[in-house]
């Protein structure tokens, strides 16, 4: 009985694995654009790390339900952002970090996502510092964001091109939530 359960679990896992595919692009900024288009059209996709055989450097890929492949490819073709390659998943997929850590410095709040940190003055909601990361757009993002109010600042995902930009975007989204909460709770939190 136990053995048959084991087999059925394994075959279920295999079935789940082969029911997903990956969209592979030349660079991360294309991944970010395709992700935005597909999410807007209601596809259940997510950005993940590629398996070792597809890694070239600063990589992200899009995981999608293989059953949707035709529709997804058509949508991307219409938007002129077809992937370099579409592959079925048969290897290890890396889960990106989705946990954020927040640290309160009194008048300032710092949010960290993966290797990226964003710091905002709670009184004015102005971005005062960006730190961490190692890809070349980190200093660019810092230059573009520091000194701007959260509401007027462009989203890091829209102006960045790398995984570090993607991580900073996660911190930025969390910061928006925290500051909403801060305002709505009469500035007693976070």
């Amino acid at each position: 009985m136990k053995i048959s359960r084991l087999f059925s679990k394994k075959s279920r896992e295999r079935k789940e694995r082969v029911s997903r595919g990956l969209l592979v692009y030349q660079d991360t900024s294309e991944v970010i654009r395709a992700e935005r288009i597909l999410k807007r059209d209601g596809y259940e996709i997510r950005v993940v790390g590629p398996p070792p055989c597809l890694r070239t450097g600063c990589d992200l890929v899009i995981e999608f339900p293989i059953i949707e492949q035709i529709g997804i490819e058509q949508t991307l073709k219409e938007k002129r952002i077809s992937p370099l390659e579409v592959v079925a998943i048969s290897d290890e997929i890396l889960e990106p970090i989705d946990l954020c850590q927040k640290k309160d410095f009194g008048d300032y709040l710092m949010i960290r996502a993966a290797n990226m940190k964003l710091v905002v003055d709670k009184r004015t909601e102005i971005i005062v510092n960006v730190s961490g990361g190692g890809c070349p757009d980190v200093p660019y993002l810092a230059e573009r964001l520091i000194g701007l109010n959260l509401d007027e600042a462009p989203s890091p995902r829209d102006i960045g091109h790398t995984i570090c930009a993607y991580a900073l975007h996660i911190a930025y989204k969390e910061m928006l939530k925290e500051m909403d909460n801060y305002v709505n709770t009469g500035r007693n939190g976070p």
């Binding site: 710092m110 003055d121 660019y140 790398t162 993607y166």
Partner: protein, 294 residues
């Protein structure tokens, strides 16, 4: 010759290389001027300040504009592949460069062919690719923060974005990450781990820890890790032992932070201005300790 390599967030900037001239809060390479604000210019500006303090020749730098598309990084990789040998490097520090396996491989080959291998320091994106390439132990020093250390400790992670282990780290976990990074051959001979406590390691052993002065807002300020890398590169170039250079840089960075009296909104330029004074104090204290030990 001390060679410092990295990108700056200026889309139109072509490849620029030459000796660094410092002037106030900027440095010049040929006709181009750069503010010492975060990233590669922070590292270069700090190293140039330290060279000036120690009476050394100005460092030589290789820069190109890159806002994340990898174009400037490609120019740098190609230049290094072709010209490294002509420059006669003794210490090289590689910094914000787009991780690219194929290009890294070509630079690695150029480094391997040098008659005399320079002391090789990797930080930021170049450290990511040095680890991902499986050639970390060819390099001499990495300067990760704790999140990046967790990435070095995780054999399967190609980028710190995929490393979960560090989010709620404790000191004993940092020591475990150090041991795992060396065990997996994902660390070079020396590591300088930047964090609430800085760890200086050689071949898996923790040689020193630095935890004072404790200026916790430095964590918020972009570029405060870059200054440590720049200081360390300059001190090694001046002939200090790598472990001493790491220790003095970590201590001086904290002291410069204390002298600048920062808030989370302080910009790194304000810290860099205090580095010469802080480093002078640390070098003198270090020399006095050495004398006392004798």
């Amino acid at each position: 010759m001390l060679i410092l390599v990295g990108t700056v967030p200026d889309r139109g900037l072509p490849l620029v290389h030459g000796r660094v001239r410092l002037k106030d809060d900027r440095f010049f390479v040929r006709e181009e001027a750069f503010y010492l604000n975060r990233g590669t210019p922070s590292m270069i500006g700090t190293a140039a300040n330290v060279c000036r303090l120690l009476g050394l020749d100005e460092p030589y730098c290789v820069l190109a504009g890159d806002t994340g598309r990898g174009d400037g990084s490609k120019l740098i990789y190609n230049f290094l592949k072709e010209k490294l040998d002509d420059l006669g490097p003794t210490v090289c520090a590689f910094h914000y460069i787009m991780p690219d396996l194929a290009s890294h491989e070509r630079v690695f080959e150029a480094l391997r062919k040098l008659e005399e291998k320079p002391f090789l320091i990797a930080d930021a994106g170049y450290m990511y690719i040095a680890k991902m390439s499986g050639r970390a132990d060819f390099y001499d020093l990495f300067t990760p923060d704790v999140g990046e250390l967790a990435f070095l400790a995780d054999e399967n992670s190609p980028h710190p974005f995929y490393t979960r282990g560090f989010i709620f780290h404790r000191t004993d976990e940092v020591e475990d990450f150090i041991s795992r990074a060396y065990k997996g051959k994902n660390a070079p001979r020396f590591l300088l781990v930047k964090g609430f406590t800085d760890f200086i390691c050689e071949e898996g052993r923790i040689l020193k820890k630095v935890d004072s002065p404790d200026i916790d807002v430095l964590e918020c300020i972009g570029g405060t890790g870059d200054t440590i890398t720049g200081m360390t590169a300059a001190l090694i170039s001046a002939g200090h032992q790598p472990s001493d250079a790491c220790y003095m840089s970590a201590a001086a960075n904290r002291l410069a932070g204390a002298l600048a009296d920062p808030t989370p909104a302080t910009q790194v330029m304000e810290i860099i201005r205090c580095i010469p004074e802080a480093l002078k104090i640390v070098i003198n204290a270090n020399a006095a300790n050495c004398d006392a030990e004798r």
